[in-house]
């Protein structure tokens, strides 16, 4: 089978989804507990993944649940409830399903799931969401149950045909074998009969020691088509008669279109149409070049509105003022007043900037709108929400909206928003036939939903080399209040406090508060690493400052307070050993450590960096030790750490979106810089063997890099940086923070 056949786009809509029929309770087990691991989501999953009749169940095809189809020829199709945006989840999901199914892994085909929360909703959210590093955590049990349940029905079918006990049959590589008689039947030959079996009440899952696929560094399904240009992303959708468009929203957040002079734009060869909406303009042409030139030639007078006065200074003034207020208590243990009155006290505040996502694939959506239908081609982390929002924008019932999801050219949280699809639908209302709307990089950077600015204030006390009091206040935007309102309870953004309320250290008196502070004008959203990015940076930076005050080595200081957290302790010890912690280094070279319990994984990271006399930072080496429980595909775990570290070190070194006159000042990669290969450090990732349930991994590297780098700079220069991105002027020779 060629790889092009391995992954196909499912072209289905809700209208094809049958009414819920047989609810096979046996395949739904494991949903009650353990899903809310790091996210602490107080809302119950609206709809667990109850397998129902699948979307394309046809005669002769075995379709025991939403995820598995086996046809008479033995072709096994696995439907992917989560989206592939580089994190390797398609391969991991296929491995889990095929493991319990005992499928022939070399013969499986993967398909994107269509929008359908009932069948494919992420159990943590009750929605089809790929985010929060929880695909494997949320689907581990449901997928294993789905595979095992299907396998049991295939065994029953074979046993019935042979008139033997199912217990005497075994399975491997897509076949059932009755050892005693030597008889063998393929899953394909059993497909029809298996479909009429009654699902068994109890399905035993494999003992992890018997795993044949899970735990092996198997090759990814999605990569072969990514070396030859065949992989199809949303931006690659091509349809007969398609037109191409690009758009510009008011550069000032919240501003509107005033006057438009399109006389010059319409003279550009290839320009077909100018679309003027209340908040944006778009030019439609025969190709992107015509659309782009047309947009450049458009003379738009914007009604900028009240936000045109906002600048970064206002944003920071507001945030700092808000951080002086008392917050809502997210955790309080011991006696914080007593704790802070004991021993030697230290105070600090840490600040993080706005960040853009800048996925390599610029935002896009292709829409074909007719009076009674809307078909969409895009790559999204929220396919069902996109369908619902598109339906609203089109003025059509949801079941008239077809969404063809694709591979994503990066997500990082940006594609947890439907705005690019909604804009395309609104533009498509004025276009006959399909139109592909592609944002320029400038529009992508300037109309993002940004990682919020945060300010974290900490007061802590030290007694006998240990922390006895810890008062921590997070001030920042509540993204969750906008994005998932039911999860915003009692004034606490559960994401914003993640990795602060559950920091790994044993501290007797601990108090964590949250102050919701929405920045003026600037929209905020989830950004790879989410809440832990902020909290781990502040916590781990301050840990180093406290260690220095206590006169302790940063790792020894941490280890002394990790006695109740053996997994964290083991990771830290391994990272120390592998990074040559404590070995001498040249002048102005330092090692810094970061410890994080985030996303259900226990990771310790050491960054080694040099600060030259001009204050420029040179990354030398990064060492991470990770205990993520059972590593479904260890090579993917390593790749996610490597990539996440680069992603976050990029932010620490360069990332900052600034605002002037209500608009974003950065526009493209020349002024919103990315780390490049010539600046990339050596990276070693050590995966710790574990039998615990899998943890999350996609965002962990993104959380690990900045505090470890900041602490390396602290070690190299003695300068305690408290803001990102790194300010070179503070660490050049002769400067002191």
């Amino acid at each position: 089978m060629t790889v092009a056949e391995k992954i196909s786009v499912v072209k289905t809509s809700a209208k094809n989804a049958p009414d819920p029929v047989s609810r096979r309770a046996l395949l739904t087990g494991g949903l009650a507990g353990g899903l809310l691991l790091a996210f602490h989501l107080p809302v119950r999953a609206l709809v667990p993944n109850e397998p129902e009749q699948p979307l394309d169940a046809t005669a002769g095809k075995f379709a025991p649940n939403a995820f598995i189809r086996i046809d008479g020829a033995g072709h096994t199709t696995l439907v992917m409830p989560q989206v592939e945006m580089g994190q390797g989840v398609y391969t991991a999901i296929a491995m889990i399903l095929a493991e319990e199914l005992d499928a022939d892994f070399s013969q499986v085909t993967l398909r994107h799931a269509p929008p359908n929360d009932r069948l494919y909703g992420n159990p943590t959210f009750g929605l089809q969401v790929t985010g929060n590093s929880n695909s494997i955590r949320a689907f581990w049990k449901p997928l294993r149950n789905a595979g095992a349940g299907a396998r049991a029905m295939l065994v029953q079918a074979a046993a019935q045909q042979w008139q033997v006990e199912p217990a005497n049959c075994s399975t491997a590589n897509g076949e059932v074998t009755h050892k005693e008689s030597g008889r063998v039947l393929s899953y394909g030959a059993l497909a029809a009969a298996a479909g009429s079996q009654t699902p068994p009440k109890e399905v035993p899952l494999k003992d992890p020691k018997d795993f044949a696929l899970i735990g092996k560094p198997l090759k990814r399904f999605d990569t072969p088509d990514k070396v030859n240009g065949k992989a199809v992303y949303g931006i690659d959708a091509m349809l007969p008669g398609m037109k191409f468009a690009t758009l510009a929203a008011c550069p000032v957040f919240g501003g509107k279109v005033g006057k438009v002079d399109d006389s010059a734009a319409k003279k550009i060869p290839g320009v077909q149409k100018v679309v003027v909406l209340d908040d944006l303009v778009a030019v439609v042409g025969d190709h992107m070049w015509a659309a782009k030139k047309g947009l450049d030639a458009l003379k738009v007078t914007w009604d900028e509105g009240p936000n045109a006065r906002i600048s970064s200074k206002d944003v920071w003034n507001d945030l700092r003022a808000a951080s002086e207020k008392d917050g809502v208590v997210a955790r309080s243990e011991g006696d914080i007043a007593k704790g802070l009155a004991t021993g030697e006290r230290m105070d600090a505040a840490y600040e993080l900037p706005f960040l853009a996502h800048a996925t390599m694939e610029p935002l896009n959506a292709t829409v074909h709108l007719t009076p009674d239908s809307c078909e969409i081609w895009t790559g999204t982390q929220i396919v069902s929400r996109v369908q619902a929002e598109a339906a609203k924008a089109a003025g059509l019932p949801v079941d008239k909206v077809i969404v063809n999801n694709h591979l994503l050219g990066g997500g990082f949280g940006r594609k947890l928003e439907p705005d690019m699809v909604v804009a395309a639908v609104r533009i498509a209302k004025q276009v006959d036939g399909p139109v592909k709307v592609v944002w320029t990089r400038e529009e992508d950077i300037q109309h993002d939903v940004y990682r919020p600015v945060y300010r974290d204030t900490i007061a802590a006390t030290l007694l006998d080399g240990k922390i006895v009091g810890w008062k921590y206040r997070i001030t920042g935007s509540a993204v969750i209040a906008r994005w998932l309102p039911p999860a915003f309870q009692k004034g606490i953004d559960i994401d914003a406090v993640d990795s602060a309320v559950d920091m790994p250290y044993d501290i007797p008196n601990i108090h964590v508060e949250y102050v919701r502070a929405e920045p003026p004008a600037v929209p905020t959203g989830f950004w790879r690493g989410v809440g832990p990015n902020n909290n781990v940076f502040a916590v781990e930076s301050f840990m180093d400052e406290l260690a220095r005050k206590a006169g302790k080595d940063p790792i020894a200081f941490r280890l002394a307070m990790l006695g109740k957290n053996p997994r964290m302790q083991a990771a830290l010890n391994l990272a120390a050993e592998k990074s040559n912690w404590g070995q001498p280094l040249p002048a102005r070279v330092g090692r810094g450590v970061c410890v994080q319990p985030s996303f259900g994984s226990f990771i310790a990271t050491v960054v080694e960096a040099e600060v030259d006399e001009a204050g420029e930072v040179h990354l030398r080496r990064v060492t991470s030790a990770v205990d993520t429980g059972i590593a479904v595909n260890p090579d993917t775990i390593m790749a996610q750490l490597e990539g996440g570290l680069i992603f976050s070190l990029t932010a620490a070194l360069y990332g900052e979106i600034t605002i002037d006159k209500g608009r974003v000042q950065q526009s493209n990669f020349h002024d919103y810089r990315m780390l490049r290969i010539d600046q990339a450090p050596k990276i070693e990732v050590h995966v710790i063997k574990s039998g615990e349930a899998p943890g999350g991994i996609g965002e962990t590297g993104s959380t690990a890099g900045p505090p470890a780098l900041r602490n390396a700079i602290y070690a190299a220069t003695g300068v305690a940086l408290r803001r990102l991105p790194i300010d070179r002027t503070l660490i050049a020779v002769g400067k002191k923070a």
């Binding site: 945006m85 580089g86 994190q87 390797g88 090759k219 990814r220 999605d222 990569t223 072969p224 990514k226 070396v227 030859n228 240009g229 065949k230 199809v232 992303y233 931006i235 091509m238 191409f244 060869p269 290839g270 025969d286 190709h287 992107m288 070049w289 015509a290 800048a358 996925t359 390599m360 694939e361 610029p362 591979l407 994503l408 050219g409 990066g410 997500g411 990082f412 592609v438 320029t440 990089r441 090579d635 790749a639 490597e642 990539g643 570290l645 680069i646 992603f647 990029t650 493209n668 990669f669 020349h670 990315m674 780390l675 490049r676 290969i677 010539d678 990339a680 050596k682 990276i683 590297g701």
Partner: protein
């Protein structure tokens, strides 16, 4: 403007404005979507193709400037020995994550190996620093180029 270009060894005729960057001819006129749009200002390298074997950012190359020179894209790079080696090393070392930048990475790496069969780290830095990878696959890109150069098997 009626134009004929030789792309991956085959003549392709089309009508496009003279100032239209090759990127959009490939993607929107010819439907060859393996070459990617990333920034439009030659800052990210996602649009890298070869013109007479040399890596060029197609997002800023007017189609009229190509003239009779040979265009090679990701769809045709496996025909060259360096290209095939790079593709194989990319898969052997599982370089790729989202993959969106990787057409450009592979084109830059193939051009490097065609002229510098045994590149050292500074050669790799010089040839590859124009290609941004937002997923951060640089460590594996470096290793894969070295593997492709040595012909080692993983």
């Amino acid at each position: 403007m009626a134009t004929t270009l030789t792309i991956n060894g085959e003549p392709k005729s089309f009508d496009a404005p003279a100032d239209m960057p090759l990127l959009w001819v490939l993607r929107d006129v010819l439907g060859m979507t393996g070459t990617k749009f990333g920034c439009g200002i030659a800052q990210c390298g996602a649009c890298t193709v070869h013109i007479d074997g040399k890596p060029v950012r197609s997002c800023m190359l007017p189609v009229s400037a190509v003239r009779d020179r040979a265009v090679t894209t990701i769809e045709g790079i496996s025909a060259s020995s360096a290209g095939a080696k790079v593709q194989k090393a990319w898969l052997d070392l599982e370089v790729i994550q989202c993959g969106y930048c990787q057409s450009g990475q592979i084109m830059s790496a193939a051009a490097l190996l065609a002229t510098t069969p045994n590149p050292d780290d500074s050669d790799i830095d010089a040839a590859m620093a124009g290609n941004i990878c937002r997923c951060g696959t640089y460590v594996r890109i470096r290793a894969a180029i070295k593997q492709a150069a040595s012909g080692r098997q993983s």
